[in-house]
């Protein structure tokens, strides 16, 4: 019974993450982490697992959102090399950081994101 409930919870997580990513073009990730923690994942696992879910969903949403004119590849290429370096550093940090500190940082990020959405 518990396994069936967990499966339903995971399907529900996906519905929420997909709907937010689809409707806003992004933002699904902000919900993915707390939803995955609710299902029982530890913070580090929730943060890393959320990437595996949101990356393909973001790619799919981009098909709906963007015509080829909106996808500015040459501009994006300026940021990718150091973005990849950052990703490597971030991956190491995620492995080493405490769950408590990760939760606090994420909470601050959510507040800042919310303020930005409302006021900018």
């Amino acid at each position: 019974m518990k396994k069936k409930f967990d499966k339903l919870k995971l399907l529900f997580c996906g519905l929420i993450i997909g709907s937010l990513t689809g409707f806003f073009g992004s933002g699904g990730g902000l919900f993915a982490v707390p939803l995955l923690e609710k299902v029982g994942l530890e913070p580090q696992n929730a943060h890393s697992t959320s990437l595996a879910i949101t990356l393909p969903l973001s790619a799919i949403s981009s098909i709906f959102y963007f015509s080829s004119e909106s996808l500015n590849l040459s501009e994006a290429l300026k940021y990718i090399p150091l973005g990849i370096v950052g990703a490597i550093v971030g991956a190491k940090l995620l492995f080493k950081i405490s769950s408590k500190l990760l939760r606090k940082i994420f909470a601050i990020v959510m507040i800042v994101a919310g303020v930005r959405i409302l006021w900018i």
Partner: protein, 121 residues
Amino acid sequence: MDLIVISVVAFLSGIMASMGLGGGMILILYLTAIKNLEQLSAQGINIIFFIPVGIIAIILHSKRKLIKWKQVFLPLVSGVVSVCLFAFLATKVKSDFLKNAFGVFIIIMGIISLFKKNKKS
């Protein structure tokens, strides 16, 4: 100077994206507020940025066994359905009210998370 700013923005966005902290926020904010790009353009650039950065992060997290792959499949299945539906809906409806509601909701969630006590393991 521009090169330094781009480098810092890209590096920080990569770190945050890799940690599942929403790295797109920094990049999109820079592109819209400083480079004065349209929101849609900025989101497009962010998605292109996120794909290789996200793939690298997923590979590294997977090697460290941080990703719980069993918990990826079901959310992806339902997520694919809802992302298609809601992306389609987004092109049909005015999103300002929902956008503001979303902003308020995640601020509240952030505040609750900030003051939430850690679960004892």
